[in-house]
């Protein structure tokens, strides 16, 4: 318990202060406070509480079922273009906000995915998830989406390669949280 507080020494006060702020806002009918809670916080909270547990269960199952050798062979250090295409495909079919991609990145890395591919995965996840793309096409048009995705792919592959080099050269690690 003590450890837990120590580990979250910044987060616990923020959460407690917010709880008091929201309770106070409702008690005193302080409208901006109620709006922040209802319009903003609740929306994120719903997304987090419904989507993330499912994702973490998938991560856990992936962890126990998929052997390291398998991952390493397909998206590890010497997987080349095929590995890049595979992580991109994996990223494109997912849903969720950027922070949902970090635990997946940790797992991939632990299972032997190369650092370059981990960073390509992160960028691909953020730029071109297929569920989001259908949304984008609806509001901004096919031409815009297509151009944006085509122009972004080389940029994020390059970022992935730079990050991968830096990561390996400095013996960085992705930590388990």
């Amino acid at each position: 318990m003590k450890d837990w507080f120590k580990k979250n020494k910044y987060d616990v006060p923020v959460i407690m202060a917010f709880a008091i702020f929201v309770a106070g806002s409702f008690y005193f009918h302080f409208n901006p406070g109620i709006e922040i809670f209802k319009d903003q916080f609740w929306m994120f909270f719903k997304e987090m509480i419904f989507l993330l547990p499912a994702m973490f269960i998938l991560i856990g199952l992936f962890d126990v079922w998929i052997p390291r050798e398998r991952v390493q062979k397909h998206i590890g250090e010497s997987s080349g273009i095929k590995g890049i295409l595979l992580v991109m495909l994996l990223a494109f079919i997912q849903v969720g906000p950027l922070y949902a991609a970090f635990p997946v990145a940790y797992l991939l890395w632990k299972k032997g995915c190369s650092a370059t591919n981990v960073f390509i995965y992160l960028s691909a996840f953020t730029t071109a998830k297929i569920p989001m793309l259908t949304f984008e096409i609806g509001f901004l048009g096919l031409k815009f989406s297509l151009l944006r995705v085509l122009l972004t792919i080389p940029v994020f592959v390059l970022i992935g390669i730079i990050m991968g080099r830096y990561f390996n050269r400095n013996n960085c690690k992705i930590k388990k949280v």
Partner: protein, 156 residues
């Protein structure tokens, strides 16, 4: 997503109940550990979003603004963490009020690739240095994509 998870969990249970329980436990432990950090980040985001209204964004990215509009788009996109189902309708409105496609490209790309508000979470996994470099590179990358979009749109 929830349906897929439920389905796979069921299959996994049938194949090997022990393994499944270990997997679910592992996953849920990770979730509970990251939960406080996530909560405090979404609290901060809620406040930021409350003060950064759609009108404010439209004003900064609007019509005849030159390179300042790109800079504003890049900064706004980096700071905000707006989920796609809000960001795209917003982008649609901005387009109608006269914001150019190129400015929108910078906004959308930074919005997706750079997450200043989620840096505390990212740093827990990757360490602060790697996190800052990744976000910095993505910021530059987003501007390059935006510039390329300007170029393509003037050609077409």
């Amino acid at each position: 997503m929830i349906i897929i998870t439920a389905g796979l969990t069921l299959i996994s249970l049938v194949l090997d109940p022990d393994k499944t329980v270990i997997g679910i436990k592992k996953g849920m432990m990770q979730f509970l550990k990251i939960l406080p950090a996530l909560l405090s980040v979404i609290i901060i985001i809620s406040f930021v979003l409350h003060f950064v209204s759609n009108e404010l964004i439209a004003e900064y990215l609007g019509g005849d603004a030159g390179w300042q509009a790109y800079l504003a788009a890049a900064i706004l996109g980096s700071v905000s963490l707006i989920p796609g189902f809000i960001a795209y309708p917003l982008a649609g409105i901005l387009l109608k009020t006269g914001v150019s496609y190129a400015v929108l490209a910078v906004f959308i790309t930074t919005l997706m690739m750079v997450g200043i508000l989620t840096i505390p979470i990212e740093a827990k996994y990757f360490g602060i240095k790697v996190t800052l470099i990744r976000n910095g590179l993505s910021f530059i990358g987003a501007i390059i994509v935006g510039a390329a979009m300007v170029f393509v749109y003037t050609l077409l």
